[in-house]
Amino acid sequence: MAVQPLLALRGISKRFAAVQALVDVELEIRAGEVVALVGDNAAGKSTLVKVVSGAGPADRGVIEWQGGAVQIKRPQDAQALGIATVYQDLAMCDNLDVVGNLFLGREIHRFGILDEVEMERRTRELLDTLAIRIPDVRVPVATLSGGQRQVVAISRSFLGTPRLLLLDEPTAALGVEQAGQLLDLIEQLRDRGLGILLISHNMGDIKAVADRVAVLRLGRNNGLFDVNTTSQEQIISSITGAADNSAAHRPTRPEEAWP
């Protein structure tokens, strides 16, 4: 079934000084699907997220959004397309309160004066919609727990009603229960038709929510698997390099790798 992918990366490469972080990486994400991006340390996962989110544009390669090539040079470009990102380090301003962080960079104002009331109202509304509970939206996020900060970071990505959500290690800072609830949320969002790119180390999480798994190894594609038909061992060996999927070494159309 040929469905136009929401986002397609073609031949993405990026270099940091002497380190070739990404080499000809290919990736496709469709609406209503969760793609897990896995890989060992320094595989280039976070770099790839930054390429898509505009925080660290690629040196080479093409980004296609709904079939058309686009330029993502700045975070604003990605936001404008409908790509929302939750970074691994959450990237929040600790001195601002929840409302301030949520609306940072897209403040609502009337005649140049911040409309705190409207922003707070929308914050509460958004948290309610996502069934998220934060004790007080007017405390600096520095005083929130790791889990609460995580939810704030995720809810922030919803303000622009995104089409694609990038989640970099969203469960790393969470306990078992919280992680479970987060995965529920991811499923809800997928069912609403969002495309989701999930970076995770946790095979349990991946098995639970992902549709497909893309493996990166040393900055290259090293396999693309269907979660339901692939064994965990197969994925892990692909991560560690025990199974050197030739996909990394020849320019493939990603479709070939899908069962």
Binding site: M1, G32, E33, G39, D40, A42, K45, S53, P75, Y87, D89, L90, A91, M92, C93, D94, N95, L96, N101, L104, G105, E107, G112, I113, L114, V117, E120, R124, A131, R133, P135, D136, R138, V139, P140, A142, T143, L144, S145, G146, G147, Q148, R149, E169, A172, A173, L174, G175, V176, E177, Q178, G180, Q181, R190, G193, H201, N202, A208, D211, N228
Partner: protein
Amino acid sequence: MAVRGRGPRARARTRADETTSKDGRGDDTSRDGRRDGRHDGGRGEIHDGSHDESHDESPGQRPGGLRWHSGRLTDRAGTLRAYPGAVRRGLRGLRGLHGLRGRELGSAPALLALGITWMVFQSLNDNFLSPRNLSVLSVDIVGTGMVAVGIVFVLLIGEIDLSVGSLAGLAGALFAALNVNLGMPEWLAVIIAVSCGAAAGAVQGFSFARIGVPAFVVTLAGLLAWNGLMLYLLGPDSSINFSEDGLVASLTSRYFGSPVVTYGLAALGTAGYLLVSLHDRGRRAAAGMPYRAVGEIWARTVLLAVVAFTAVAVLGRFEGLPLALLIFLAVIVVTDVLLRRTPYGRQVLALGGGVEAARRAGVDVARTQVSVFMVSGTLAAVGGLFVASRLTSASQVPGSGTLLINAIAAAVIGGTSLFGGRGSTWSALLGVLIIQSIASGMALLGVEPPVQSMITGGVLFAAVVFDSLARRAAESRGRV
């Protein structure tokens, strides 16, 4: 290709539901959860390969740390619990239902210090709180205070501007040189002097934001260079006297004596505050959000009225309300609104909370940084004109270093953090009042200038120690 069948899950859904059902219970869980659940979260380091570690901590994390699926309304006590016990008890009375909370200690310590300073000096010398001395004080603070307001902007983004003293001196010298030596009209000379401050700030800000030179070094170079330019402009006499009846001189020599005007202004300010508070309350109430109690708004208004009318009454017994003080207050109110109530101010504060976070959120970091240094340079020039106005001459005085040190000290003593992200322009007023009160009090007592310096240094040290302790306390309960 929307939704497909899902594979089996292995997740503790039942435990999650139990968590939810406990929601209604106390906030202690939430607080513990906050402490236990706090994880470094990556904080810029790569977390690869650490999934074991992150799940190891889950037993320690109480269920309350993160609560979903509950529509229960915000518990106000939860906010206060975030603060250390003693502070919390002390602040519970002071803290408003919304607004003050979450703003750390705010200006309370500085107000306390000012009160103590005044009481000590008044007990040592009856003339200290006399209308005459307070009137002189209220004009003396303005030059340094203006510079300090600019410093607050720079401190808020976590940087420093060492050039403000020299820029103040340069603005005075430039004004005098243009006006006296070249015969330029005063208003034009003022505009050029202030623009020069803004331009100097822009150059420094650009070097810092775009080229990446540390602000400390850029502005240190500025300190030397602008000071040199000032000396060059002042010429061999090292000072230029200007008209005592002109525009600039009148900045610090004009007083409003008419009670109608002075009390009218006090009433206007108080009424303005009341109306804004009530309007805000009304909007919040209409939107179904927590709002301040009417009683609290009235209490604050009455407090403001007492301060405003007392000040007007006391100053009225000498020469009246100084124009300089009025301009200073206006600048503070405008910059405070700018910082707290506009998207621009929000972005300035965000830079103090995390440059990278702000950048990813779409804030134009470099532009904001340059603008902050421009504000600092502009206000330094304005402050320099006030200092020159006080002496009716442009001299080396502002460039001597005392002005720079006092301005930075004032901002910090008033409660603006050296670490960025915390503070308001009101701290410039409070801090400069404290510093100038100490100077004035010691002058009344006949204390030698060297001893004055030592004592002022001690106060600054105490303020910085306090700031650092506050930061550490904040770190121990969360991140700053």
